[in-house]
């Protein structure tokens, strides 16, 4: 079993960025000064990811206002809508409003990625919205059904994946909290499977991960186990791991073991026990370990402190397997 570790969403902004962006809004600093700070801080995040031995580095997506904004601002068919609560958190996103069937603009998302991503794509992980969550959380005034929209967004995200894979990116994560918060049924579930078929085909040899969080994933497992991707991730703070169903085939499983809702640091020994328990029921080809939800629910310092459990857990798992992966 291979154990991969890394970020699964945005990293918190540093206190320096907090101060600088506030100052920017109040006209007390310049956009150039903030830009320089972003670049320095992204380099710090990359250094942290490398120091912790993460398999893919993300640079933390510090500039993205929310998961959808780069798409709502650059793809055709969208406007940026009202502030809307992000699941059961005290954070908010601006709801994309879709006025007509969306059209992808080639190269637009690449320009919004952290600059380090395309500078060293072979070690970079890209984090994108999943088609089901994207379709479900936007305000759909386009006239398309939800099912058609999931299909369409799946195709567009596949095109995006193809473009970025062509530029050397090797890991793609699709953020799908809605898959466990409101698991799709029937034709929409089929549309989700079809969307990820498109994505997987477009990824070439790159890894594709669907990451869920925020709710117990157990109800969604029948669908999650059908998704044709390298791994599906679940939030272990919300999911009763002892109820995760057995699965006979070898496949990748992601475990969200860093809970961003508490500053308490997780215990690597607990994680080893859980993985051993799961291995008795599932053939795990690849184990992905990461934060269970958006790590930016924490401030910078405690988030940094908590991430150290990821290499510790990997080390403990390798040790448990006699030093062999």
């Amino acid at each position: 079993m291979e154990v991969r570790i890394g970020l699964t969403g945005p990293f918190p902004r540093s206190e320096a960025i907090v101060a600088a962006t506030r100052d920017l809004d109040r006209g007390r600093t310049t956009a150039e000064a903030v830009e320089e700070l972003y670049a320095r801080t992204e380099a710090e995040v990359v250094a942290l990811e490398q120091r912790l031995g993460f398999d893919a580095v993300t640079a933390g997506y510090l500039r993205w206002p929310d998961l959808f904004r780069p798409f709502a601002e650059t793809w055709e068919g969208f406007t940026v809508g009202p502030l809307t609560r992000w699941f059961e958190t005290n954070t908010f996103y601006r709801q994309p409003i879709l006025h007509e069937p969306p059209v992808r603009v080639a190269g637009a998302i690449a320009k919004r990625l952290p600059p380090t991503t395309l500078a060293a794509p072979e070690r970079a992980g890209v984090i994108l919205p999943g088609p089901y969550t994207f379709a479900g959380l936007l305000e759909n005034r386009s006239g398309e059904t939800e099912e058609a929209l999931v299909h369409r967004l799946g195709r567009l995200l596949a095109e995006e994946t193809k473009e970025l894979a062509g530029r050397g990116i090797t890991t793609f994560q699709f953020t799908e909290p809605l898959l466990v918060d409101q698991p799709p049924e029937r034709s929409i579930a089929e549309a989700v499977v079809a969307a990820y078929k498109s994505v997987q085909a477009a990824a070439g040899g790159a890894s594709t991960v669907v990451w869920t969080y925020g709710a117990d994933a157990n109800l969604a497992f029948p669908l999650l186990d059908r998704l044709p991707v390298s791994a599906v991730g679940v939030d272990l703070a919300e999911t009763d791991w002892e109820a995760i169903p057995a699965f006979p085939e070898r496949r990748g499983l992601g475990l969200g073991i860093v809970d961003p809702r508490t500053t308490l640091v997780e215990d690597a020994g607990d994680i080893v026990r859980i993985v051993k328990g799961l291995q008795a029921r599932r053939k795990i080809s690849e184990l992905w370990l990461g934060p269970g939800g958006s790590l930016d629910l924490l401030p910078w310092e405690p988030a940094t402190r908590k991430l150290h459990v990821l290499p510790a857990a990997r080390q403990a798992l390798l040790h448990d397997h006699g030093g062999r992966p």
Binding site: P12, R22, T89, N90, L236, T263, L264, D267, D270, P302
Partner: protein, 379 residues
């Protein structure tokens, strides 16, 4: 004494006037701030005879002192509310910055961790509970004493509730006491301990001190209640623990939530005599924002309702006729007009003073229009 139908109340914060912010920093009022100050005083005479007034008008804010400026800010809000015709008032939270950090700083057992982004470039400070919660000293007491001494209408104090304080903090201490992996059941048990401890050890003693100082009407703010509807029982446990054995009129303010998801659990809040909820925000685009009141009737709940009749996120002033229509619909769903108070959906600090004033005036006028349609069953 019988209260007239549809009395009006405020629900919490008011935007701080610019002259207060400038003067609190010790800076001399500029022309615009001076003009605002004079205009407000012409309207409500809040600053007449106050020794700090002369200092501010003479450009000597520093000499006036920040505390005296805050006093003026509190008087400004009190008189604004009273002049608008409200029956219950507070000071517009003129001395408060926000509703989380200040209460937490009055307690022990917490460590502030840093900022978390709420959205865009907006952030809030979050603390971790690292030890058992203890109250340093009851808070809001001095500000209540000031309001009580100066209010002409009945004072009503808003205070952040235990569930919201716990939900907006990181739970480390109570979680660490639980053995093994911190899965959903363990987290929930730890959160229950945390909520109840804040309620018993910090909020209840504070409420008791306020009541001892003469506070008779207290609004417990639980804006986080709607974030996790499956934790409505924790909201209730916190409310009940905070108010146990205390004698005052308690209301619970919740906003921007799916109230049906909280029902019927929330109805177990024993000493809550009024639900102060937001409705106007959802009463648009052909949707009846007051229909949810039917659910209260379905569950047989007969408590008062603080009816949000003005939207605090829009500058449009609701005409009095619209306010009256909203009240009529609420009566239709609740049955008893004597149960209804009228208020803005939430604190008005998101609106300019001018807009807030007009919204309150419209609220009072709308209530007067609706009043003509009903006979007060308590009269």
């Amino acid at each position: 004494m019988t209260r007239e139908l549809f009395p009006a109340q405020e629900i919490g914060s008011l935007m701080k006037p610019r002259w207060q912010i400038v003067a609190q920093h010790g800076d001399a009022l500029d022309e615009k701030a001076l003009a605002d100050f004079r205009r407000a005083n012409e309207r409500t005479h809040f600053a007449d005879g106050n020794p700090a007034t002369a200092e501010l008008l003479a450009g000597r804010s520093r000499e006036a002192g920040a505390e005296a400026v805050r006093d003026l800010g509190a008087l400004f809000a009190l008189r604004l509310f009273e002049t608008a015709g409200l029956a219950r008032v507070y000071d517009g939270e003129a001395r408060r910055i926000e509703m989380y950090e200040y209460p937490i700083r009055q307690m022990r057992g917490f460590q502030f961790q840093g900022h978390v982004r709420a959205f865009d470039n907006k952030y809030y400070l979050k603390a971790t509970v690292t030890d058992e919660v203890r109250l340093e000293r009851p808070y809001h007491v001095d500000e209540f004493d000031f309001v009580k001494a100066h209010a002409h209408a009945e004072p009503k104090l808003p205070i952040t509730g235990p569930y919201t304080l716990a939900d907006w903090s990181y739970n480390e201490h109570y979680l660490a006491r639980q053995k093994g992996w911190k899965g959903p059941q363990v987290r929930r048990a730890a959160q229950r301990e945390f909520v109840v401890d804040i309620a018993k050890r910090a909020i209840r003693p504070t409420l008791a001190a306020l009541i001892e100082h003469g506070c008779k009407v207290i609004q417990i703010d639980e804006p986080a209640a709607g974030t996790h509807p499956d934790e409505a029982d924790l909201v209730v446990e916190g409310f009940n623990a905070a108010t146990e054995g205390l004698d005052a009129e308690f209301s619970m303010h919740i906003c921007y939530s799916e109230y049906r998801d909280l029902l019927p659990t929330i109805l177990d809040a024993k000493r809550c005599s009024q639900w102060a909820w937001e409705f106007a925000n959802r009463d648009r685009d052909g949707r009846d924002g007051y229909e949810v009141l039917k659910a209260l009737a379905e569950y047989g709940d007969t408590r008062e309702v603080g009816l949000g009749v003005t939207d605090v996120h829009r500058d449009d002033i609701e005409p009095p006729e619209l306010v009256a229509d909203r009240i009529r619909r609420a009566v239709k769903y609740l049955g008893d007009p004597a149960r209804i108070w009228v208020n803005p959906d939430c604190g008005l600090r998101t609106r300019s003073i001018e807009v807030a004033t007009k919204k309150l005036e419209s609220t009072v006028r709308g209530a007067a229009i609706a009043r003509a349609d009903f006979v007060n069953p308590r009269a």
